[in-house]
Symmetry: C2
Subunit: 197 residues, 2 copies
Amino acid sequence: MRSPNQCLRNGETPPRIPSHHHQQHFHSTVAVQKLRRFNTLILVFRFASFCFCLTSTIFMATNTRGSNYPNWRDFEAFRFVLAANAIVALYSLAEIGASVWEIFRGTTVLPEIVQVWFDFGHDQAFAYLLLAADAAGTSLARTLGVSETCMDSNAFCMQADISIALGYAGFVFLGLSSLLAGFRVVCFMVLGSRFHI
Amino acid sequence: MRSPNQCLRNGETPPRIPSHHHQQHFHSTVAVQKLRRFNTLILVFRFASFCFCLTSTIFMATNTRGSNYPNWRDFEAFRFVLAANAIVALYSLAEIGASVWEIFRGTTVLPEIVQVWFDFGHDQAFAYLLLAADAAGTSLARTLGVSETCMDSNAFCMQADISIALGYAGFVFLGLSSLLAGFRVVCFMVLGSRFHI
């Protein structure tokens, strides 16, 4: 695509802000505190997203009650919900690790430019994936709601609904993470460095 | 996709680089040409998005064949597909107007800062809306596909499928517009102005 360098930190012409001013700014205690608060906020969102998606996955995966009852595996959209939530849960777990690393080590796991774009790109893609899965699941759940399947086995439908609702909650927190990740991309492009402790 | 000059050519407030250097650079023919190419690309994406969503809306709205046949109004997800596509078609039309205005007048319709955030925010929100609607529609269409409804009236299901597929195409182009809009937001934040012909 394009490199952040194009906009701002195009190496040979950085003279917009004198670099000593730059460093001075970021080395101040206030800046470090703000950075830590920002990182912690991201961590909280990631953790919330992980919890919701993991719970959603578990709710869907355990939605079986023997061979006489409907099974989530029989419904394409429910399989999609489970898969999407599981993927986002795994991704969130990895990102939690990366965030913790960053908070304690002060550097990113991947090279900085790769990390900011990796986070933002994956947040966006997985947010779309999760929303699509949840919307598909909702549509199926509502169709089932008026069918015989739900008359016969109300618990099955209830559990599927809960799983989907948890998926939406995971989506909200993933979206919030995505916002912050986008903000970090902009910071990186503007200042040439996301973390400069 | 993008060129560095797009970022660079904006700006009556270019405090980082002495303004004479800036203007000299940015008022060059090459820069103007690149800006025009960028604007035209956005316009093309908006237009494609408009066409697909409008066609999708029409396909869904005309999916009725008398009282003995199924009707799209009876299905919640199909109503959602129609509404989302109609909204995005209207929005795209408005954005086409704004783009044309910009290409010919050289200024944005709204104040610049409002315009860049308006475009980006709405692109994102409507992309999520459209994807959710299409995913819900797909889920319903697949459920119907193995039900009696589609055995009795295959044309109804076929037309609904086409409408949903067109909606996905609209989503792709809306997503591309959103990427470019995001790029403009970054440019605006970096240089203080998006377009300055």
